[in-house]
């Protein structure tokens, strides 16, 4: 049995950390969630020298200061799980800034192996890094890598095991200058005497307290004597600030960077300064973020993305549809031949296979969508899109980064909701998730096509377009309303790195797509299955009734709810049942109407013409647009937030959908459109 080691990978976003992780662990990885939150946690393993090394990929962060969810996760992991070692992956062509995180890791007391990644870029720019000196001064081993060419990866595996076996404690220390150091020393002695029940390095704790780290302050407050300790700290900090003449936070930052600047100066030849001319990335940015070209270019790329998703995805969707049809057939025949009871065969075929199938047919679309997102992200374009849309998004009380999830929602709300993970502030995440279902996803299109085709053949396009617009307008209103109710005082300013453009790596993009797609399947799967079984049950019972007929439970429920929809102009049980089934997946609405009216696609149009008026058809479309997120979306909203926000998302959309449908119908009738 191999000996076990647990290590973590830390590094800035865009330092090539994910590539290193993929190279280190190959296919031995899996994705889960960090405890309590929904940020993806990637774990993998490799073996080296008789050791089994478990690798945890920490979220890419700029620091351990716990401002964003990602930073908090990284820090908590290091503090609580105590990995044997941390591999700090840094972009060697951007040494100083990247070392800032490394310095924080070392101050925290972590045992570090420094991975200078992207060494090819460094060489290309004619910079030489004296790695021996760097290693000596920092007191950690340094490995050079070019991860996307797998260069140096073996060396990391070797050095990691060597270091863990050596087991020497790190002795890294930044000299904050005599004034600050004197206070640090004094406070360390003070805290040591208190014998606090924490296992942090005292020096780190003192520095964090002086910096005013919100989370650490909070933690201290909960300890016995915490209040007294904090008072002493605050006194010392205030005295020090008075003495220094400016705020302590800035002072600590400047000392830290001062140290790193000296370090980088000593260990590199040829200083990289501002003199370097505009590189390719800046030239591309001149076009991409241009005032006039930026937005049209973005829209063009989005259009291409949707083309990819629906033209390539379409035939695959049909294939899966046929596949599930075939499975259903085979299962039904098989079950009958072995003499299974009628209800059981119906549960398996109509309920589970049919229901799950109706959701799974969208898998190709979802995977392609994730493929497109991965491409846009890995190339560096996604950050620019957010940048370009920032100003427009302020009308929603959100900023540019929220735009991507909303756009994705037009394809499917699920990836849209999942994409909110990139947003730092909770406010932005929740608001963007709540309004996401108002982006009319592709599954609602069949409903519009059916009704608009039947009633508004001449202006079909315009009518459908009006629904998309209505969704967006409502999203703006709802976002503003919820913001003023739940997040009155929170602002999340836009600070976003624009990484250099890169050619995406095929392997990286595919891994990314697979992880996200399969995560959707795993997590949404359970709830979808439960929902499907529930609907089957309601359609089949009491025993002996025709599936989904007026006498079935769902038919009776439909009749019960139908009067509620009278003010919206469609108060008959078939419409209510269709909407009920629509919760499963919006496109099911059309299929359900077909079943209930015993009509095929062509016949359905004439049946609808008899039962609806143009006005009630429109209000029915509006209802379908708004009334509730589909069951898979509800599952994902729950997964990304909690029950409170999930109930709100379901509740507000039901009320809003009904309200808007009724208003449209009643006002329309007032103006006598009802006669049309």
């Amino acid at each position: 049995m191999d000996k076990m080691i647990k290590i973590a990978l830390a590094g800035n976003p865009n330092s090539g950390k994910t590539t290193v992780f993929n190279s280190l662990t190959g296919s031995h990885q899996h994705v889960g969630n960090w405890p309590g939150v929904t940020v993806e946690k990637k774990e993998g393993r490799f073996t080296s020298d008789g050791f089994e090394v478990r690798v945890v990929d920490l979220p890419g962060t700029y620091s351990l200061s716990a401002y964003s969810l990602d930073e908090r996760i990284a820090r908590d992991f290091l503090l609580k799980e105590n990995p044997n070692l941390v591999v700090a992956i840094i972009d060697a062509s951007n040494l100083e800034r990247n070392l800032y995180l490394v310095a924080q890791l070392l101050e925290l007391g972590a045992k570090v192996v420094l991975d200078l990644n992207m060494m090819d870029l460094v060489e290309k720019r004619g910079i030489r890094i004296d790695t021996k000196k760097l290693s000596r001064i920092l007191g950690v081993p340094v490995v050079e890598t070019v991860a996307h060419k797998e260069k140096g990866i073996d060396k990391i595996r070797k050095v990691v095991v060597e270091e863990v076996e050596k087991g020497k404690e790190a002795t890294f220390k930044i000299d904050y200058g005599p004034d600050i150091e004197a206070v640090i020393d004094r406070l360390i002695k003070f805290l040591r005497a208190k014998r606090l029940p924490v296992n942090y390095l005292l020096r780190w704790l003192v520095v964090k307290l002086l910096e005013g780290d919100a989370e650490i302050l909070q933690k201290m407050k909960s300890l016995p004597e915490g209040k007294t300790i904090l008072n002493v700290i605050a006194e010392n900090a205030a005295q020090l600030e008075k003495h220094l003449g400016y705020d302590l936070e800035t002072a600590l930052i400047e000392k830290r960077y001062g140290y790193l600047k000296g370090l980088v100066g000593e260990c590199t030849h040829k200083h990289y300064g501002l003199e370097e001319r505009l590189n390719l990335s800046d030239k591309i940015d001149k076009v991409v973020t241009n005032k006039f070209i930026g937005i049209p270019l973005f829209l063009g790329l989005m259009w291409l993305t949707f083309q990819l998703i629906f033209t390539v995805g379409g035939p695959l969707v049909d294939l899966i549809d046929i596949f599930f049809g075939w499975i259903g057939q085979v299962a039904s025949e098989g079950l009958i031949s072995i003499g299974a009871p009628q209800w059981f065969s119906s549960l398996i075929c109509d309920g589970i296979i049919g229901g799950v199938g109706s959701v799974l047919v969208f898998l190709p679309n979802i995977f392609l969508l994730f493929l497109a997102i991965s491409l846009l992200e890995d190339s560096g374009y996604m950050a620019r899109a957010a940048f370009v849309m920032d100003k427009l998004m302020h009308t929603l009380g959100l900023h540019g980064k929220s735009f991507i999830p909303l756009i994705l929602g037009f394809g499917c709300n699920i990836p849209g909701i999942m994409a909110t993970r990139t947003l730092e502030s909770k406010k932005d995440r929740i608001l963007t998730i709540l309004v996401n279902p108002l982006m009319s996803c592709s599954a609602r299109l069949p409903i519009y096509v059916l009704f608009a085709g039947a009633f508004f053949a001449k202006n079909q396009g315009l009518v459908i377009f009006s629904l998309y617009l209505m969704g967006m307008a409502l999203a703006i209103i709802i976002a503003r309303v919820f913001k003023s109710i739940f997040f009155k005082h929170e602002v999340a300013p836009l600070i976003m790195e624009l990484p250099p453009y890169r050619l995406p790596q095929v392997k990286g993009v595919l891994i990314h797509m697979w992880e996200r797609g399969s995560l959707f399947l795993k997590k949404a799967g359970g709830i979808i299955l439960a929902g499907v079984i529930l609907i089957w049950f309601l359609s089949s019972f009491p025993l002996g009734v025709e599936y989904a007929s007026h006498q079935s439970l769902i038919g009776r429920l439909g009749s019960l709810f139908a009067p509620m929809f009278s003010p919206a102009g469609f108060g008959f049980w078939q419409a209510a049942v269709a909407l009920g089934f629509g919760i499963l997946a919006k496109e099911v609405v059309v299929g359900t109407l077909g079943t209930l009216y015993h009509a095929d696609e062509a016949g359905l149009r004439s049946v609808i013409l008899q039962n609806f008026t143009p006005l009630s058809a429109y209000s029915f479309m509006v209802m379908s647009l708004i009334y509730i997120p589909c069951i898979a979306s509800i599952a994902v909203i729950k997964r990304e937030t909690n029950w409170k926000w999930t109930f709100l998302a379901v509740g507000y959309s039901l009320a809003l959908g009904w309200g808007v449908a009724v208003i449209i119908y009643q006002i329309g009738k007032l103006f006598m459109f009802g006669n049309l």
Binding site: Y100, L101, E276, S281, D282, D285, L494, E497, L498
Partner: protein, 74 residues
């Protein structure tokens, strides 16, 4: 000393002071931007700005740029 938001594209400036809450100072420092650093304004078009330090490019909301005070260089 003028706010960064008023600097024209192409201009090099030195950060003198960041008048923001604790979060802002720290977040900017984590990304490599702190008092003393020399930066260049890449784009400023009455919306978010792009600023550059060596090879780092940062998109920055206008409101925030208004709270970063800089000194014009040559």
């Amino acid at each position: 000393m003028i706010p960064l938001s008023m600097v024209n594209p192409g201009q090099k400036v030195q950060i003198v002071q960041i008048r923001g809450g604790r979060g802002l100072i720290s977040r900017l420092a984590n990304m490599g931007f702190y008092p003393g650093v020399i930066i260049e304004v890449v784009s400023n078009r009455n919306g978010p700005l792009i600023i550059a330090r060596d090879k780092i490019r940062l998109g920055l909301g206008y409101g925030m740029a208004h709270r970063i005070f800089v000194r014009l260089l040559n």
